[in-house]
């Protein structure tokens, strides 16, 4: 699986960024402004003479943590609300699902923009905001799984025996509902990374001098005719990362949930 390969390499690269980075990502050297790639600076330097490779490696850590933390938050909210709605049904379900409808109605990016303006753009807020605005899909998914699993005989039996709801939800239903959640979360990481880089690119995400692929690309845009490497490295990195998670998600879907992938055709 190519997807898994890309993802593992990226995780390793960002974990070992401090060791691998040839320079301090913040260290400026104005005598080496906008140098093209060379033996000493593999990916060239930026407008302050900082080493782009080092900044890319540290930026990778940012992307990765945004992906994981944001999806973690959305998993937490999505699973909890979806489980409660699907398991208890009735007015609780109605209340939660109508809330989801309302949230879905507001274009996500405007919602994010609004929250960023209120809370201020920084790494922590970005992670939380992306997490807070991306749980709706997951909650619907979890709810649907719970609705169908709730009807199974073994769950009915557990309820009849007086097993507490809390235990039924977490021990008996949730583990069986995890496959689609897991798949969706993998795609979610791809989405979150893409979103963070987009926001940082527009100056609404991670703020310089902290390096992120998005804000390196902003610099790239400003110097696009003089320093192509500043546009190419972050762009390709974002692309490969997102592609990796998307491929991984697709592969997982084939393995975990065969009924979702196209089977044979009769033609």
């Amino acid at each position: 699986m190519i997807g898994a390969g890309i993802v593992i390499v990226l995780i390793l690269l960002s974990l070992t960024a401090p060791v691998l980075s040839p320079y301090d990502p913040q260290a400026q050297d104005l005598s080496l402004r906008l140098q093209p790639p060379s033996a000493s600076h593999w990916l060239g330097t930026d407008e302050y003479g900082r080493d782009v490779l080092s900044r890319m490696l540290y930026g990778g850590r940012i992307s990765l943590s945004v992906g994981f933390v944001a999806v973690g938050i959305s998993l937490l909210i999505g699973i909890m609300l979806g489980a409660i709605a699907g398991y208890f049904g009735g007015w609780v379900d109605q209340l939660i699902m109508r809330t989801v409808d309302v949230v879905l109605c507001i274009p996500t990016l405007f919602l994010i923009l609004m929250l960023i303006v209120f809370l201020g753009p920084n790494l922590f807020n970005i992670m939380v905001i992306i997490g807070l605005t991306s749980w709706t899909e997951l909650s619907r998914l979890v709810r649907a799984e719970f609705l169908s699993l709730r009807q199974r005989d073994y769950i009915q039996a557990a309820r009849a025996l007086g097993v507490p709801d809390f235990i039924i939800i977490f021990k008996h239903i949730l583990p069986n509902a995890l496959a689609p959640v897991f798949i969706s979360a993998t795609f979610g990481i791809a989405g979150a990374i893409l979103l963070e880089s987009g926001l940082s690119f527009l100056g609404l995400g991670v703020q310089p001098p902290t390096p992120s692929w998005g804000n390196i690309l902003t610099t790239g845009k400003d110097y696009i005719t003089q320093a192509w490497w500043l546009t190419l490295s972050p762009g390709i990195s974002i692309f490969l990362t997102v592609l990796g998670y998307n491929l991984l998600g697709d592969g997982l879907r084939d393995v975990l949930d065969p009924r979702l992938s196209g089977g044979e055709e009769h033609a």
Binding site: E264, E265, H266, A267
Partner: protein, 321 residues
């Protein structure tokens, strides 16, 4: 003169390990105008696949081997454009589940008219008239109104009548009915079979009736072929099969038909299950379930015995006792 002749037809699929799996094995029969051939078998016996092979509709990646001749014309390997001329016009089929066999987004009229226009060089107006006529032929009440309706507005029995009308709209000389009444109520079943028989008396078409129910088959068939594990195990006239069946499987099917007025504590079902085509037992595939099994049955698949009946059994006999 037979209008359809199958000789040594095989349908092969491949399993996960790319090993060939025969779903239909060495099927041979002929049909005559105005006669009805019944094909009986449990699900998975290959009877529906045999029907699909006649129409060239075996799903990918299945392969058909042997020979299927329609009026001396070989159908196997026929290119799609030529096959399309025969489907619906020469040989028609009605499938099992009328609920899903009609396209939900088109009116009945559209689906009837497109069939007629696919085979006849006539004006749309004339085709509409013929479509209406074909609905009248299958006893749809007030067809001139209902023809503008969509499939979901009809009951299951009515949908099956529409599908029969569609199958007959271009006067095919062979009509294949694949479990046509299985999804319907018993009373509707009888009405539909009566209607089909009436049409046959009128236009002398051949009917191939496929069913798991020997009771239904015996009502309208002239000849019966019994299929087991992809092969015809016994074949003869309806009278010979009912009175003089030689194969223990046929015997078992006959014994399992409940008879009116005969009280029994329990029906005589055949024990066990039909085999998976990818793991056929050695020798005669029926031997694990056979009450008349002898040693030879385990070693070798029996060839046909040509008698008044054609059958494949090492130890035939009129009873299973």
């Amino acid at each position: 003169m037979p209008n359809l002749k199958l000789s040594g037809v095989q349908v092969l699929f491949r399993d996960a390990r790319q090993q060939p799996v025969p779903v239909v094995r060495e099927v041979s029969f002929e049909t005559q105008p105005g006669k009805t051939l019944g094909i009986v078998g449990e699900s998975g016996s290959g009877k529906s696949m045999t029907a699909l092979s006649i129409l060239g509709l075996v799903p990918f990646p299945g392969k058909v081997k042997g020979s299927i001749k329609y009026h001396d014309k070989e159908l196997i390997g026929l290119p799609d454009e030529k096959y399309e001329k025969i489907r619906g016009a020469g040989i028609s089929i009605v499938f099992q589940d009328p609920a899903t066999a009609l396209n939900p987004v088109f009116t009945i009229e559209k689906q009837l008219v497109e069939t007629i226009l696919a085979h006849r060089q006539i004006e749309t107006r004339e085709a509409k008239k013929q479509a209406l006529d074909s609905l009248m032929g299958v006893d749809i009440p007030s067809p001139e109104k209902r023809i503008k309706d969509y499939p979901h507005q009809f009951s299951g029995g009515m949908k099956q009548r529409i599908l029969i009308a569609m199958a007959l709209s271009c006067d095919p000389d062979i009509l294949i009915l694949d479990e046509p009444t299985t999804a319907l109520d018993v009373t509707v079943q009888a009405q539909i079979l009566d209607m089909v028989e009436r049409i046959q008396n009128f236009n002398k078409m051949t009917i191939i009736l496929i069913s798991h129910d020997l009771g239904i088959i015996s009502e309208i068939s002239d000849e019966v072929a019994i299929m087991y594990a992809g092969r015809i195990v016994e074949h003869g006239t309806i009278k010979d099969i009912l009175d003089n069946a030689q194969h223990p499987y046929t015997r078992g099917l006959l014994d399992s038909i409940p008879k009116l007025g005969v009280h029994k504590a329990k029906l005589n079902a055949i024990g066990g299950f039909p085999p998976n085509p990818s793991e056929l037992p050695s020798g005669c595939p029926f031997h694990p379930r056979c009450p008349r099994k002898i040693e030879k049955c385990v070693q070798q698949d029996p060839p046909y015995t040509m008698n008044k009946l054609k059958f494949a059994c090492w130890n035939p006999g009129p009873t299973n006792g």
